[in-house]
């Protein structure tokens, strides 16, 4: 039939036919899951008319329902794994895959030995009733069963800790953990607890008792020169100290300390280093002197500079992550190197970082280096290399933000906004798209319309000292919030930033503030004029995810993506803002992917959980369609099967597949 047509047309026609079929199936099954509305209303009426608090039996019911839900989840998981194995066998997949799936199933079944995750939550429902001596036998039975399991877990963990503490010689800690085990009185661990107690006692006995150390007579030999030299040092008479003492290393050390304190640094430091090679107390003390950053400034600076150069090199290669973790001989270090040695990073980001570092825009933070450099420059102002050092230090010191100086101005500390994100109690602003305001879902309010003039969206928020914009009349505020909440409840709006329930809760909070007398302010949000080139450059060179209007750019390890959403108003939703937009009848994404070998372009869209994509991959057109048949039939929990239609140049293939999100 299509023999005389070219390949892309064939694919297109096939895709259209299949899409039409899908539309038909959607229309047939969409209404099939009829809601049991009447029963729900009756149940709600019953609940509303009850005034008594929950009875113990009802608490048991809640606890059991929680456990029942998790049990069902476990069975579902096992069931889907079983299905997966069946599917692999049916399609004659490789034995390795079948074995792998079987192993996962066994692991799943083995994990059933563990207590349910919700047991703690279920116990919380039962504990208050047990605490006030409820006589409900069912409640007691369920509580006892779960509590016994909890005790067993706790006892087991305490025994592990006791054993670990005993093996490290921390007998008191081991005793405390053992006492806890005996208090818990778990039958399962009694024998093991006895064993640990015996072993602990043996270990304790094997440690030799601390006998009273016979006090050796104290002796102090003092040479004649010591008192004058020590007195001169203590009195700060360093000139005099230089003339005292003998050639004994102790005297030499004392004199070098005096020399250093006189300000004759270099020879003193050299002597400290020489004396530091001794293996006795003199050497130890000399090393102590020479290790002080203010004493051996040169050495400290060299050491820090070397470390800094290496860190900077790592930073060039892999950015902050590699600079921080590149030296670690651990999985963290391995990951840092692995993420850095990607073709895109080596080809694009690394040259950018080196280029930027030349102009001092990127430097690792290194307080120790700054301290060492300052000390060095102060002590050796005439050293040949100190001019360069001082030059870049002066610049760095000006530009860097020392944590001690952050927030200070005119001798006062002003705390900045925290960088830790928290959900404030004051409702955050709500951004409404132009499409939504112009729709019939919200009433025509003059303030909203005037704010919308020339703007892409409108922001409403509670009035604060910094508020700009126009106040919305009280009645209009309440109407607007109520209208938005109603549409949200019907899930007819696109919510960005939070989920639907949170957005409704947000509107409720705003409404309660408005009712208590606060005003809503309306503010225009101008249409974003993105700098496409700079955003694109940011993604390509820095690897950051950027947005420019409806376009989004991101970079993977070896590929670069450009996405353009269609449907909806391309609302850019700032942080800490709830954004509301018209729910488009059809939405999707045009995508483009470039890697080192290929260019893929296409479009993806979804409709009632059916997914459709059409694109050109590896130079060939293709389309794919996923139909959630089991979901439409209400069987998704038990048979998470989807129908997948792959349309290629030469053929159409059809087959079931398991929902990967199940």
């Amino acid at each position: 039939m299509f023999a005389d047509r070219d390949k892309p047309t064939r694919v297109g026609i096939r895709a259209l036919v299949v899409a039409a079929l899908v539309g038909l199936i959607v229309l047939i099954f969409n209404g099939s899951a009829a809601a049991e509305e009447r029963e729900q209303i009756e149940a709600a009426a019953r609940t509303l008319s009850e005034r008594e608090p929950m009875t113990p039996a009802e608490r048991v019911e809640v606890a059991e329902s929680k456990i029942g839900a998790e049990r069902k989840e476990r069975i579902l998981r096992a069931h889907s794994r079983l299905l997966e194995i069946g599917w692999q066998v049916l399609t004659q997949a490789s034995p390795r895959r079948v074995l792998s799936e079987s192993r996962d199933l066994v692991k799943e079944l083995w994990s059933w030995r563990k207590p349910y995750k919700v047991e703690g939550e279920a116990l919380e429902w039962l504990e208050p009733a047990v605490a006030v001596s409820s006589a409900d036998p069912e409640l007691i039975r369920l509580y006892t069963k779960m509590h016994a399991r909890e005790v067993k877990e706790t006892s087991h963990a305490a025994l592990d800790q006791a054993e670990a503490a005993a093996s490290r010689g921390h007998f008191e800690h081991a005793d405390a953990r053992l006492r806890r085990v005996f208090e818990l009185n778990s039958d399962a661990d009694t024998e093991r607890a006895q064993e640990v107690a015996t072993r602990l006692s043996e270990l304790r006995n094997s440690v030799p008792a601390i006998s009273a150390v016979a006090e050796a007579p104290l002796e102090l030999a003092v040479a004649d020169w010591e008192a004058p030299l020590s007195a001169a040092l203590l009195a700060g008479q360093y000139d005099r100290a230089l003339e005292l003492g003998t050639d004994e290393p102790s005297a030499v050390l004392a004199r070098e300390a005096a020399r250093y304190l006189l300000g004759d640094l270099e020879p003193a430091v050299r002597s400290f280093e020489e004396l530091g090679e001794r293996e006795d107390r003199v050497g130890e003390l000399a090393r102590g002197w020479s290790r002080r950053p203010d004493v051996n400034a040169q050495r400290q600076f060299e050491l820090e500079s070397r470390g800094y150069q290496f860190t900077r090199m790592l930073g060039w290669i892999g950015g902050t992550q590699l600079a921080n973790n590149g030296r670690a001989l651990s999985s963290r270090g391995y990951r840092a190197w692995r993420d850095s040695l990607t073709p895109f990073n080596v080809a694009l980001s690394m040259p950018t970082r080196i280029y930027k570092d030349v102009y001092r825009d990127w430097r690792p933070e290194n307080e120790d280096l700054y301290d060492a450099a300052f000390e060095y420059v102060a002590q050796f102002p005439d050293a040949s290399d100190s001019d360069d050092t001082r030059a870049w230090l002066a610049e760095s010191v000006r530009t860097r933000t020392d944590w001690r100086s952050r927030g200070w101005s005119d001798g006062h500390l002003t705390l900045d906004s925290p960088s830790t994100r928290f959900q404030p109690m004051t409702p955050e602003p709500v951004l409404l798209s132009r499409e939504l305001i112009e729709s019939e879902r919200v009433s025509d309010v003059a303030e909203l319309q005037s704010a919308l003039a020339g703007a892409g969206a409108v922001q409403i928020e509670l009035e604060t000292n910094q508020s700009e914009g126009e106040p919305l009349p009280w009645r209009s505020s309440l109407t607007l919030l109520a209208e938005l909440a109603s549409v949200l409840e019907d899930r007819q709006l696109r919510v960005i930033g939070v989920d639907n329930a949170r957005a409704i809760d947000h509107l409720r909070r705003l409404e309660s503030h408005v009712r208590s007398g606060r005003r809503l302010m309306v503010e225009s949000v101008p249409v974003e004029a993105p700098s496409l080139v700079s955003r694109l450059a940011g993604t390509v060179f820095e690897g950051t995810s950027e947005r420019a209007g409806a376009l989004r750019f991101s970079r993977g390890e070896e590929e670069f993506y450009a996405l353009r959403e269609f449907g909806g108003s391309h609302l850019h939703c700032p942080d800490n803002t709830v954004c509301l937009d018209e729910n488009p009848a059809l939405s999707g994404t045009f995508y483009g992917k470039v890697d080192l070998e290929d260019l893929d372009v296409g479009v993806q869209t979804s409709f009632h959980r059916a997914y459709f994509s059409l694109g050109v991959n590896n130079g060939l057109p293709n389309a794919s369609l996923v139909l959630p048949i089991a979901y439409w039939m209400g069987l998704a929990d038990w048979v998470p099967l989807e129908a997948q239609v792959a349309i290629g140049v030469d053929a159409i293939s059809f087959g079931p597949r398991l929902n990967p999100q199940h």
């Binding site: 007195a231 290393p249 002197w289 925290p418 604060t464």
Partner: protein, 301 residues
């Protein structure tokens, strides 16, 4: 090839290192405990105890405590009556006095300096001078004769102490006694913040803590003060959340948010400190505050 070259290089460096080690190892000689101990004390006396914690070891040991212990053992070993003291004993006592001074044990330091001064020979002038300063420090640092009867009296006493120590900072600020006077004044200011926290309004307590921070920006305890400031803001938020729970008046969400934000900002600043312990403290407090805040949010109706 590269591997072989690397092996050869390592071998050569090990050989050269061994040769260098055998050439420079000097023969051990008798160490002189008094001289060495004095030299070590002198090294630590350079530390500014107000600005840095260099005198505290990694396990919390104070080098001045250790020095004091060493000098007292020397005295035990010599076991001589005061009348029979020689120059060595005077040096030991003077060094002991310096350690006591750094440990802020002023009355004992006064006594030790007095003993050295009374001998009238070695170090007598220095001891006399130090004794007079230490006397003033001991006087200002002496405990109150009777307990105070009210928070107001407590506060008045604290203010008087701070003023007295400020005067000593003015007099001895540039000498080795300056850091000690600063530490003392700072300690009383910390106490003032505590009292404000207990008996004054939340805003007054925050203001007192801000004053503490502004006056002690270069202190080693700067991050601790920031944590305290964060605690006070967190406490403000907690008080506001109790209003919410009891519904005794309208909940001021803005005030609550401001307090949480300020507490987090103060903790974040403290979390940048170099000392690991204080950094951990600040980070833990951030997590705790966020968890508390989530709990409070859950009760908002």
């Amino acid at each position: 090839m590269a591997c072989l070259r690397g092996t050869l290089l390592i071998g050569a460096s090990v050989f050269l290192g061994a040769c260098a080690g055998s050439q420079t190892s000097p023969p051990p000689t008798q160490a002189r405990p008094l001289t060495l101990q004095v030299a070590e004390l002198q090294m630590h006396l350079r530390n500014d105890t107000y600005r840095s914690v260099a005198h505290i070891g990694p396990d919390g040991e104070n080098v001045f405590e250790q020095a004091l212990f060493a000098f007292e053992r020397m005295q035990t070993a010599r076991n001589l009556d005061y009348d029979n003291w020689g120059d060595e004993d005077i040096v030991i006592e003077y060094a002991r006095a310096r350690a006591l001074e750094k440990l802020r044990r002023y009355p004992e330091a006064v006594a030790a300096y007095a003993r050295v001064a009374q001998k009238g020979s070695l170090l007598a002038n220095e001891a006399l001078e130090a004794r007079d300063v230490m006397r003033r420090f001991a006087l200002e640092g002496a405990p109150a004769e009777r307990p105070s009867s009210s928070p107001e009296e407590d506060l008045a006493r604290i203010e008087a102490r701070i003023a007295a120590w400020d005067e000593l900072i003015e007099t001895y600020g540039s000498s080795s006694f300056g850091p000690l006077a600063r530490e003392e004044a700072e300690a009383w200011e910390i106490l003032r913040v505590e009292l404000y926290g207990r008996f004054k309004s939340a805003d007054e307590a925050v203001a007192a803590c801000n004053r503490l921070i502004e006056r002690n920006r270069d202190s080693k305890l700067y991050p601790e003060h920031l944590i305290r400031l964060g605690d006070l803001h967190a406490e403000n938020a907690r008080r506001e959340s109790l209003v919410l729970r009891t519904q005794q008046r309208t909940f001021d969400a803005q005030r609550y948010d401001r307090s949480i934000g300020a507490a987090l900002a103060a903790y974040e600043l403290a979390a940048e400190a170099r000392r690991d312990g204080v950094r951990r403290q600040a980070q833990t407090r951030i997590s705790t505050l966020l968890a508390d805040h989530e709990g409070v949010r859950a009760h908002v109706r």
